[in-house]
Amino acid sequence: MAEQLFWEDVEEGQEVPPFSQKVGYMELNRFAGANEELVPIHMDADYAKNVAKLPDVIIMGNLKLAYIANAITDWAGDEGWITKLAIDYRKMDTVNSTITAKGKVTKKYQQDGKNLVDLDVWVENEAGEVTTPGSAVLSLPSRG
């Protein structure tokens, strides 16, 4: 169980601890089952390369979104709550590469009785390129 993060302990500019995963066929196929996303470009290298003309089997956008959510919730603890998550699937990531979900606090504020934190979030490939930028809003408990 993750340690609880409190709103008072967050500062603008603070980084979310990264979540890294090497994504093989095991990860892709398990997620395809869970997400009902049984699509050849995410499972079949022959189809991906020769029919869809992609560089290789590509990682589902929703799996990258899930890794970003993992990074945030692992950091925020059980009482933290993601109230908004928006992701732009800009570049492809391919099977058997290690991708890393990261985040950074851009704003800390209180609104409608909630203690909120705005975040820039993104997924990087092994070369450190941002393939999948996004933003999130996190609601946190207060020590007060």
């Binding site: 709550w81 109230t83 908004k84 998550l85 928006a86 992701i87 732009d88």
Partner: protein, 79 residues
């Protein structure tokens, strides 16, 4: 060249209230926006924005999901 599958380009989830085991959710999906942009090859890119609002058994809105899909059309498909 026609890409026959729409490609998901953007996802957004906004959560208003917790969703709990046993809740009965009703989704109201709609076509929120359609935008067409010209491509360099004379074809077009169609950007389809879908939105679904989810309500629980008490009529409370719990979630809004938005998705943008891209669909590419070559010049030969615009006759």
């Amino acid at each position: 060249m026609l890409v026959d599958r729409a490609r998901v380009r953007f996802d957004e989830y906004e959560l208003f209230e917790p969703i709990r085991a046993g809740d009965v959710l009703t989704a109201h999906p709609k076509l929120a926006d359609l935008e067409e942009k010209p491509r360099d090859d004379g074809g077009a890119m169609l950007i389809v924005t879908l939105q679904a609002d989810f309500y629980n058994q008490d009529g409370t809105k719990v979630l809004t999901a938005r998705q943008k899909l891209l669909r590419m059309y070559g010049p030969e498909h615009l006759q």
